[in-house]
Each structure stands twice: as structure tokens, then as C-alpha cells.
Amino acid sequence: MFKTDYKIGRGKVSITGDDLRQSLVIAKNEMRKFLRGRKILLFVLLVALFLALNIALPALYWDQFGSYLSTPEQIMSWDAGNISFIVLIGAVLFASFTIVSEFEERTYLLLFTRPVKKTTIFTGKFLACYAITLLVVLIYYGVSAAHSLVLEGTVTSKTFASIGMAMADIFALSGLAVFFSTISKKGSISALMTFFLVLMVPSILYVILGIVQPGGDYWYLLNVAEGSISSVIGPAMSISKPLTTFLLWGSVPLLAGWLIFLRKEA
């Protein structure tokens, strides 16, 4: 038995070593669910398609693309342009179903009647959703790095900064999706809400703000922050604003989702 020799917090929100161990058990099972399901195949297929297009199109039209992809930075930045969409697909396919599927499939009757805190379940599920998207994103970066190696013989070290921004984006989008998964009664509704909120709302706001305040700095919009995933590979830039944006867009809904989940009844 795992030693529960430390404890953080008090009462309902206290976390013990045993809670963390149980979170990892739940995360491991959730990962197994993702890896044995069909959604992961769809995800990998879409990512492969993005990569194929990213690599094949410039190769086919090299006369037009050649000048844009002449440095390792330009190649990685070009490839990283798809990351925010990959992260969105990951959030929609996995995180937006993670809580609601327990109720839809009635597996909550099995899991929620165990001696496991709801916070532990919530944490484990979020960790798994984060990890599965991160795994696919890292594979994407790996192939992109190979792309850069083939064309330029090297990979820019700024790739790590881009990975860092992508990790923050995964946190933001997974947090949003888990929130919708907590409040929705159907996984499909949760997925649609995640998709439209991330894809449509910031774009609409961007257009409206562009009319109301032309030339303003809309750093707090998710789509603006997501631009940093590829632009961080270019000239030096401040990452504090996009990181703050990702942190806020992820942590606020995640906190709200957790509080709602604590009170959620079967």
C-alpha cells in the first residue's frame, strides 16, 4: 500500500499521496481507453494528413515555396502553424468526452462508488487528456524536425520554445474541453461546444475588436496567443502575454469544471 504520509490542504480538497497514486491509476486507464479506441486512429490520420500536406505541397511547388522555407527556423515555423488545430482536435476528441462519457456509458456507477475522491478522478482524467494530445503533438514535432534535417541538415533550438507554447495551448484547450465535458449531458454537445468556442468565438471577437479598436493588441484572445506557437520560432518575442492567455483560458474553466464536478450527482 502506498504511504499516505503527506497531505496538502484541509477537508474536502486535501490531497494525499494515495490520492495522487489513484490519479495516476485513473490516468493510465484513460490513456488505455484512448489508445484502444477508434478516435486515436482518426487523430493520427488527421495529423498524418497535415504533415503530408505540409511536406508534400512545398516540395511540389518548390519554386513558389523555396524562398519561404530556406532556413531551419522557417521550416519549423511553417510546420508549427498547424499545431493549434491539432491541439483543438485532441481536445475535441478526448477531453470533451472524458467526464460526460462516464455518465453516458454508466461506468460512473463502477468508478464513483470506489473509495476515490472526485478530485482524484478529475485530475486523473485531465492528466490523460493532456498526455494523449501532448504525445501526438510531440510525434508531429519529431516528424517536423526530420523535415528540417532533410532540407537544411539541422533543427533550430527554438523548436523547444514552440513545444513549450504548444504545451501551454494543450493545457488551455484541454481545460476548456474538460469544463464542457463536466457540464454537458452528451459528449457530442460537449465536443461541439469546445470546437465552436475555440474556433469561432475568438475569431469573431478578433474581427469585431479589429473594427472597434483598429490596431489594438488583443493578446488575451486564444487565437492570437496560438499564433505564438509558430512565431516564437522567428525573431525574439515576449512569451509572457501568450502564456498568461493560455493559463487563464485553461485554468478558469478547469477550476469551474472541478467545482461543478464535486457537486455533480448521478
Binding site: 454508466r106 461506468t107 463502477l110 470506489r114 473509495p115 450527482e265
Partner: protein, 310 residues
């Protein structure tokens, strides 16, 4: 607070509707208690509060001395549950499911492996141990559901309508497993059910709820003998005649006898009905009797209590 389950003034309200109304109930150690009541009586709500699927509006519910309303994790440690018909993770096999549930309660790999094989044998699912649960019938899933409740040697098992939704064969198989549930085990069982004969067959205690209130809590034996009379059914090898009925009515201790289709129904005193001499007396009547059994009077008591508490 020596009893494994102590419910004190438990209340559950949904707006203006009170599903469970100041329920207080003690479940004795090593007993098998049946929770009975009509639809909406509060049986499932009570068990869902005990298993922390829903939160109590007020009151306390202790399992092994730990209040589930304050420390659900602590209270549910050492408790096996089957609530309604739980679904399983269809991508897992029974072995993987037990592994997951065992890991959650902190069992070692060796302990999980050892218990998994004996539990699967008990619920007759050994040959399906490595097949994905997604391919299983409802009856098979319910057997796995019952099996997982034994993982970690729980001291308390809570079952919410464990045979509901099963076909007759599935029900019979499940009842067979439930009959042996306490064999050699130090375990207290609480089971809600709609089926009086099931409770009568399996349980030694019964608690009857109606409108969220406890209206009876006693041993099955005490409940069935509340009226002081017992109903004995005698099967004959022919359609009973008036003479056959009269002969039965004349057996000492018999209060009344009447024809009931192709059988004779006799109301007898408890002493007479439970006496070994009864077999001899009926046999000596020469009326072609080939079988006799006691028709459990739990149903009569149940119906009268439910009627009174309306």
C-alpha cells in the same frame, strides 16, 4: 456505534420532493438485509447516498464508523458495491477490470491476481477472463459486477437491485451466487430489491421503506410470523375434492383450509406449520398429497404495511 452501517436521520430532498425522510436504520454485523419498498420508496436513493453517488441533504450515514457524508473515501474503504446495472469499460477484459479496481484500492499485483481467479471462478466467468467485456451479455456483465464487489475482501457489500433487468436464467444464476455470498466470509450485506421472494430467499433481515420512511425493520422470521399464522400449500395428484379439504382442515393446529386451483391452501398456527409432524399428518390423510411447502407470508405483511403507510 458497533454496527457496520448506521444511518441517522438521513434526508434527501429534490426541491419540494422529499425522497428520503429522516431515515434511521442500523444494519447488524454479518447480516444480509433486504431493503424493500415500492417504486419511489427511497431504496435506491438511500443506497446511492451510502455509496456517495448523491449527496445527502442532511443526516449522517456511517459505514464502519466513518460518516460517508463527510469522508466518502474513508467510508467506502472496505466496501463492495453493485449499484443498478453498472456498465464496464468495454475495452477491458474482466482480468484488466479487476486489476484497475484492485489498483485503485491499493491492492498489490499478487493479491489482485490471486483474488481475480477465485472470484471469477465463484461467478462462473473463468473461461471469459481474457475476453473484452464489450462482447458480454447483460447477465455476464452482472456476474462480473457482483464479482468485483468482492475484490479486496470487503466487510460490507451494498447491492442495489442486483438481479434487475436479467432474464429468468440470469436471475436464477445471480441468486445462486448471492445465496453463497457469505460462505465462510465475515461480511455484512445490504440489498435492495423489488422481489419479495428474492429477499425472503436470501436475506435474514428486512427493512421496508415507503415514501422515504422506514416502516419496518426486523428479521425475516419475525416478519413472516407477525400474524401468528402461516400459509401451507399442499399439492395433490388430483383436483382436490371437498372431502380432501375437510380432511386437511381437521389436522390439529389448522385454522382454515380451502381449495386453491389444483392445490389446497391451509392456514395453520406457526407451531403446527413448522412441525416435522405435519408431513406425517398430511401423508396419513390418504388424499394423494405429494408435496407441501410454506407460502412465505412476507408478501402479506409487506402489502398490509404499505397500505397502512399510504
Amino acid at each position: 456505534m458497533g454496527n457496520p452501517i448506521e444511518i441517522i436521520g438521513l434526508v434527501k430532498r429534490y426541491g419540494d420532493f422529499t425522497a428520503v425522510n429522516s431515515l434511521s436504520l442500523s444494519i447488524k454485523k454479518n447480516s444480509f438485509t433486504g431493503l424493500l419498498g415500492p417504486n419511489g420508496a427511497g431504496k435506491s436513493t438511500t443506497l446511492k447516498m451510502l455509496t456517495h453517488l448523491i449527496n445527502a441533504t442532511s443526516g449522517e450515514a456511517y459505514i464502519n464508523g466513518v460518516d460517508v457524508t463527510r469522508d466518502p473515501k474513508g467510508a467506502l474503504t472496505g466496501v463492495g458495491t453493485v449499484v443498478e446495472t453498472p456498465e464496464f469499460y468495454t475495452y477491458l477484459t474482466p482480468v484488466e477490470t479487476f486489476e484497475l479496481l484492485g489498483q485503485l484500492i491499493g491492492m498489490t499485483g499478487e493479491a489482485i491476481a490471486a483474488q481475480t481467479s477465485s472470484i471469477l471462478e465463484m461467478v462462473k466467468m473463468t473461461e471469459w477472463s481474457d475476453k473484452k467485456i464489450g462482447t458480454f451479455s447483460k447477465g455476464m456483465r452482472q456476474r462480473i459486477a457482483l464479482g468485483q464487489a468482492f475484490l479486496g475482501d470487503p466487510s460490507v457489500i451494498i447491492l442495489d437491485e442486483p438481479t434487475s433487468g436479467l432474464d429468468p436464467r440470469g436471475m436464477a444464476e445471480m441468486r445462486e451466487v448471492l445465496k453463497n455470498i457469505r460462505n465462510g466470509r465475515d461480511v455484512t450485506v445490504v440489498m435492495s430489491s423489488h422481489m419479495l421472494h428474492e429477499v425472503s430467499d436470501l436475506c435474514d433481515h428486512v427493512a421496508i421503506l415507503n415514501h422515504g420512511k422506514l416502516i419496518l425493520d426486523d428479521t425475516i422470521d419475525a416478519v413472516t410470523s407477525r400474524s401468528g399464522t402461516r400459509q401451507i400449500i399442499i399439492k395433490l395428484d388430483h383436483v382436490p375434492t371437498a372431502d380432501d379439504v375437510a380432511k386437511v382442515a381437521a389436522i390439529p393446529g389448522t385454522l382454515s383450509a380451502s381449495r386453491l386451483g389444483n392445490e389446497i391452501e391451509a392456514k395453520m398456527s406457526s407451531e403446527c406449520a413448522r412441525s416435522p409432524e405435519l408431513f406425517k399428518a398430511v401423508s396419513n390423510l390418504g388424499i394423494g398429497a405429494y408435496n407441501l411447502y410454506e407460502n412465505e407470508s412476507l408478501e402479506a405483511t409487506y402489502l398490509s404495511l404499505i397500505k397502512e403507510s399510504r
